[in-house]
Symmetry: C2
Amino acid sequence: MSSRGLPRSIHGDVPPPGLLEAFGAYERALMDDDLPALEDAFVDDGRALRGDAAGLLVGREQISAFRGTRGGVPARTVRQTHVRQLDPDHVVLVSVNEPLQGGRGLVTQVWRRCADARWRIAVAQVAGPERAADPTIWRQLGFPLIAPTGSGDLDGESVAVKDLFAVAGLPVGAGNPAYLAEAGPEHRHASAVRMLLDAGAEVRGIARTDEFAYSITGNNAHHGTPPNPRAPGRLSGGSSSGPAAAVAAGQASIGLGTDTAGSIRVPASYQGLWGLRSTRGAVNTRGLLPLARSFDAIGWLARTPDVLARAARVSLSMPSKIVTSGEYVLCPDLLELVDPSVRGAFTERLGTIPKPREIQGPDLEETFAAFRTVQAAEAWRTHGTWIREHPDALGPDVAARFAWAATVTADEEHSAREVLAEIRARLDTELQDGVLLLPATPTPAPSNRSEPAALDAVRTATISLTCLAAITGRPALSAPLLEAEGLPVGLSLVGPRGTDLDLVERAVALGPPGGRP
Amino acid sequence: MSSRGLPRSIHGDVPPPGLLEAFGAYERALMDDDLPALEDAFVDDGRALRGDAAGLLVGREQISAFRGTRGGVPARTVRQTHVRQLDPDHVVLVSVNEPLQGGRGLVTQVWRRCADARWRIAVAQVAGPERAADPTIWRQLGFPLIAPTGSGDLDGESVAVKDLFAVAGLPVGAGNPAYLAEAGPEHRHASAVRMLLDAGAEVRGIARTDEFAYSITGNNAHHGTPPNPRAPGRLSGGSSSGPAAAVAAGQASIGLGTDTAGSIRVPASYQGLWGLRSTRGAVNTRGLLPLARSFDAIGWLARTPDVLARAARVSLSMPSKIVTSGEYVLCPDLLELVDPSVRGAFTERLGTIPKPREIQGPDLEETFAAFRTVQAAEAWRTHGTWIREHPDALGPDVAARFAWAATVTADEEHSAREVLAEIRARLDTELQDGVLLLPATPTPAPSNRSEPAALDAVRTATISLTCLAAITGRPALSAPLLEAEGLPVGLSLVGPRGTDLDLVERAVALGPPGGRP
């Protein structure tokens, strides 16, 4: 038998016969990515457990599915092994390994002698070497990347800046490597960055975005999908995917993002964060790379409403509070787009709120179509020239979206604008100074193995909800106050223009979600 | 009993009586940093195991010592608990937690029912949320921080640049926050950075240094001590501490450093890396913040001799190979400064090499004193003005060193230079074109809890070895070919000026260390 994979320095109990051989065989199978051997190494009672920093897998089926997507483990040397025999059929084996690429790994395994007398793993926890940083979350970061330029309400806070905002000395990458490679360093900070720095926050780093912010999944073809710490194995949501994941993971306290069609509210909803899309025009957009100028709005993500409100307060150019009737408004038509589990959570939540006034919404298909058309026309106006000059630069999803955007005619855009003007006028009349309540997204975070067609359907339903704020220019909050299928979903509050801070206070007053601590 | 700390969602077996209460009490004790309760939560047979990314602790004593230095665990909610009863007295409990500051944690515990009928932890592996990055290794980093400017021998390699080299657009921090805060962005890359970029490497990030590179411990009073993956709980070595740790941890493939009195060779020795101090003057120092101009040399750290040689080859201005006699030279006097374990490993290694010619070295005390004096005078000339203007900016060790440097008189410097000139002439005569063999450091990495006096003694002995290359301007390699007390120690080869690459080839030819795979 090969000695490869066999441990060298053994401490503790004398290993029972066959155990070290099973351990060595498993190490070799890991390096060889021998899937059948790896599968057979775990107990087959549906109760095997395997955990690492990315999450916990339960049962051999989940474990094997994970292996199938990962590929093998880099070559490593087992430096130490500690053996603790618990009873004749159970042994704990803790091993320290050194991968050839550097660093150290630690593995704790509970082995069981099975009916066929072979040793198999019942429970394992695995730690590999720490990465430099998570490249799906960050493009660049530092301690700090940019130091504060003042002191105030944001002292001690750290900001993950979406890669659309100018940061002096560094280029804007917009989530696309080819664009980044051609971009020169910026000469000054974007206004939205500057205001946070002046208030005492530091810039922790430049965080990933979906390409040109023209997607809401969080899946970037070049950099991958950031993790969703609140829902492992599911999408982060985008396009402010990096700032959201950085905040959810505790790697920054404020995410600075943009929201054209939900790009703050969607990741906030999927990751259990507080996310605010500001009133259109209320935050200076100097230094922001636009997507669709009629709809682009700046906003923030945070783990707590307090931090969110402070970030908003120092950034809004109309911070004085606007007094409104405080009336809640409901548009039942919207709920038809929403998954039953989310609808149930939303309806239950409504039970704790004085009965909202009901309004009839616009035709949702017509609204979505018109919004999509104008967004596309503007996106093409912003980026079309560059994209035409770089035909292979974009990932398939965003490329397809821009390809469609290129086909929108002036007539189509003009008609769509007329439709939107009408919808906006009508919504303003219906909503008056009320606050529209709706789920921030029609589903919890979809699985990150979802088929493109399924994601497309989610996209349409989602934007049909989120575009109402974009069309009316109203501020929209996603507050982590719903839970569906055990996953976070945002409760969205869309208020009159200028009530950004009021929305946060209102959501706090609603109290925590039922069933959550 | 408080419900704080109790798990909410329990899967798998029905937990035996008392187990969940013990788990809940342990969670509460963690948050309260209740050291007696934490100690009592582990089995007391000297065999308890507790592992995390930083290393593995064996026995309650080690575990409690670790707790004493850490402080409590931030508040967290246990979201899921999986129970696997192995036998009446052993249960595995795997729990997923969510810290209030974001991210997820995973804990696997093997619990044992003890003789007093209480459940205690026999084995635990703990994973907290991933950090943004390790701030003891990195000041700033990115994917990439700086893209390659060419293609060649270093395609695909990533560089950790010591925070003494100019990187265009970013300030040089020199390991001191006050210095960094005043430094403006550099206009162009240091030559040594530029050459690596031109050869295809990217800059992964700017890595930590001991303050102004005036220390060899790796312990920075402001940023902490980088981990030593090959010797957890021990010093990383410095002053090229960040580049070395980044490479050892697998977070970069090349460390770009400087070596005035051992600042590459010491961390290479402590961390089992290949580290080369180049021939003085062989690498352009434009854009490098100096420490002591007579002795400063640029160099590299890598996990393999191949990468080291490639980084050196593209950077040396005298890359053509110099033919020498190839004779090895030994200076027995030097070994008196060396710990017995290292001396033993070195002597054993000598047994595999044709008997070296022996020379008599200079008086080591006199040499060290003269070296230290000139180094101090030059360091004060470089940084004295700034330090006088910032009397509280430095950590205590480096402050004391500079304070002493300020007292060196012109006469003392002049005399010391005369002594060094004599030593250099004599060493050149004795060494001729031979290659001096010696341990790179007189000890393996000292514990990171060493007393200052102990570290000072190590410093004196270490620099007494390392300064010979600095005084003669000869290139010096530290190759990971010795092992003492189970820890890596470098074998140092000091060759004639210009033989930088030859030293790497020679060390490779010596073969791997005895007892290492």
